[in-house]
């Protein structure tokens, strides 16, 4: 289920696939991200998040399918795409011998739509010392610098690849603040991949769970939380009924306790379960995003 609008999507992935020899890193990935929305891509390590982002940005060639950002295909017009998309990587490899002001000047010279006021304002807010060399910057300052560079050319799309990994709590908050400010001011589309479900909850409108290169779910966060529930049932016979609930995501039996997580939950789902033979008391439990995420992943692992 995607959030569709009539306007052109800011990000469009169609059957995107990437294979490295025998390994399939990204498997037939299709999704659309509406302009102006914030999309959080979550998944365990090795799920294919970074690979997907690399293909979107044109730094990796897809095996099959295509990836478009702002309607631009990176294989066809990579430079145009990079002019209009801001990117913050997970690991920072800017030239370590350059000073902050030199990095800024270098980037400024490359972008057509550079806004020096925005750049200045953000550098001041982050308290980045312009005369420091990149190798002297802490991880937190490096990430903030990356954000400044990504945002100063006024991109319509901002792509962040695990930007807050390894940051101390204060740096995280400052970075988050910086990202929120730019969303408030410019209303651009944001795609970010992360492990941190707290960040997803705060920042994202819609969320996509990636596992083994496959998209398990792509939904508005509130809808997802509202329609995914865990049911705790008592198994009077100690046996699971033959008819399992629809949209089953994950289940676990421990003694007489049966936990089952379902999507598209309605009261009917619970009632039908209560009506099953061998099922006693059924309790409906709301899930937070973290538990929901874990259940999706565990469910996938059980299948494969």
């Amino acid at each position: 289920m995607t959030t569709t609008t009539d306007t052109k999507p800011a990000i469009e992935l169609l059957g995107l696939t990437k294979r490295f020899g025998r390994t399939t890193a990204v498997d037939d990935l299709s999704l659309r991200v509406a302009p102006g929305s914030t999309f959080g891509l979550i998944g365990p390590n090795g799920a294919g998040k970074t690979t997907t982002i690399k293909m979107l940005m044109g730094v990796l060639t897809p095996t099959l399918g295509l990836a478009r950002a702002l309607g631009i295909d990176a294989e066809v017009e990579p430079l145009t795409l990079k002019q209009r998309v801001g990117y913050v990587p997970e690991a920072h490899h800017m030239d370590r011998w350059m000073r902050v002001r030199e990095v800024v000047a270098f980037c400024r010279s490359l972008y057509v739509s550079w806004n020096e006021d925005t750049c200045r304002e953000m550098l001041d807010r982050f308290e980045l010392d312009e005369s420091k060399k990149v190798k002297q910057l802490s991880k937190g300052m490096l990430v903030k610098l990356s954000l400044v560079l990504a945002v100063s050319h006024e991109p319509e799309l901002l792509v962040l690849d695990e930007p807050m990994a390894g940051l101390d709590p204060l740096a995280r908050e400052e970075f988050l603040d910086g990202v929120l400010r730019t969303i408030c001011e410019r209303g651009q589309t944001v795609l970010f991949s992360t492990h941190s479900l707290d960040d997803v909850q705060r920042l994202a409108d819609t969320v996509g769970i990636l596992h083994g290169g496959r998209l398990l779910v792509h939904r508005n966060i509130e809808e997802l939380l509202a329609t995914t529930k865990r049911l705790r049932a008592t198994l009077t016979n100690g046996r699971v009924p033959d008819r399992l609930p629809d949209n089953l995501i994950w289940q676990r039996v421990e003694g007489r306790e049966w936990l089952v997580t379902v999507g598209e939950f309605t009261e009917e789902t619970a009632q039908r379960l209560r009506a099953e033979e061998g099922v006693g008391h059924v309790e409906v439990i709301d899930l937070g995003l973290e538990d929901l995420f874990k259940d999706f992943i565990r469910g996938q692992r059980a299948v494969s």
Binding site: L176, D177, L180, I183, C184, E185, L203, D205, L225, L287
Partner: protein
Amino acid sequence: MNIDPRSHVPIYLQIAAGIREAVAAGIYRPGETLPSLRAMALDAQVNPNTVQKAYDALAREGLIYARRGKGLFVADQGTASAQTRAHETVRRAFDQGVRTGRAAGMQADEVRDIFEASLGNSAETGKHA
């Protein structure tokens, strides 16, 4: 405004609840403006779209209303309506507590004792409406 992203209550509802409490407590008075979308988003450290959702929900409730170009204002009945909501929330919490007690086999007196103790505790911490 402190948001708990781990809670299974959607963030926009948490924000709405936070604002409602603030109105009930008189922090925002009828006729006054609420913080802008941007200010609230930065304060709560959440996406402005989420704050918008919260504001929309409160507007539907009648707690706040929008005046073009001027911002969002607390409705005149705002404080009263927020307090009614607060009563509702407390009543539901009590109902839940009683149900839990009954399910565990407690008698009415036991439940009442627990309630009185709880009331006593909050009086000591001096929380005023």
